[in-house]
Symmetry: C2
Subunit: 177 residues, 2 copies
């Protein structure tokens, strides 16, 4: 089994496209090197296309989808049930990170989950602080709290320069979702 | 066979991480929806890890790697042989785009290829101009020429906010390459 010599904490944030897909592409590249990834996708509890495609790489990539996001669209606070689900999922992700079974841990949309009140930066900090030296940890989502940027090794802002959404086009199946 | 209703021209540029991986993740997501992708990777003529991993999705994703980048490190202009190879590859990519066999065409590092003198923006413009309505075209690479930004529907700048390269760490196998 290949081992990662040195792992870092990466953040993909910003209002632009490519945060989740960059994390997925990273898991695919890692799989090509024999690395195993655990991906926790928050606020995406319905079938996303990438999940079925990545089943072709199931020996290397494990995906768990936890939590809804319908309250966001209703402009409501998240129900306690959703908060509990996400906190438990983060705890499972931490156990997976510490298990020695994965070289790459991806917490997709974990940053935007802080913005919508599901968790706080303090719920994420233990994962960064306890990350084993040989594990790569990737956090994605808009609205990254400043204290997590301070803690990360690599931060990339995906910045929207031009977007056809602005022309009134909705998200397209197979491209945006 | 699923068809893409409306395809756009996307650009991933900037000095940050995640341009190529976002394009790869996009191809994986598209595969999950039954879309077929053709990926031309320029200036990467040696085995990249993502290529072997994506062979698990070979019914949906076709990858071609064309061209070296050693002259960049020697701070030389590209040899004519490399220029010819890349121009021919772009022509093949255009034929693939027009063939009806692919919903997604990715030209990886095609933008930085303009910076290093392999091609010019004028070599890329015909692909944007002749893109069929139901095909998505993705261009990646640093140093995107302004005239291509004008022509694209969606432009995302991957902006480096913080990077451990700056701490003297080299590219890591399975993560950066």
């Amino acid at each position: 089994m290949n081992k990662l010599k040195q792992g870092f904490t990466q953040i993909y944030t910003g209002n632009g496209k490519g945060k989740t897909t960059a994390a997925l592409g990273q898991a695919v590249r890692a799989a090509g090197n024999g690395f195993r990834s655990y991906i926790l996708m928050l606020m995406k509890e319905f079938p996303y296309n990438e999940v079925s495609a990545l089943s072709a790489l199931k020996d290397f990539i494990t995906i768990e989808q936890v939590g809804k996001d319908d309250y966001v669209y209703r402009k409501e606070l998240p129900p306690q049930e959703e908060i509990d689900k996400v906190k438990l999922a983060l705890e499972r992700a931490k156990q997976n990170m510490l298990s020695g079974n994965y070289e790459l841990i991806i917490l997709d949309e974990v940053l935007v989950a802080t913005y919508f009140g599901l968790i706080t930066a303090e719920d994420i900090l233990p994962l960064i602080n306890e990350k084993p030296f040989d594990v790569e940890l990737i956090l994605t989502g808009r609205y990254c709290p400043e204290e997590l940027i301070d803690k990360a090794d690599l931060v990339t802002e995906m910045k929207e320069v031009k977007h056809y959404y602005k022309k009134g086009i909705l998200a397209r199946r197979g491209i945006e979702s």
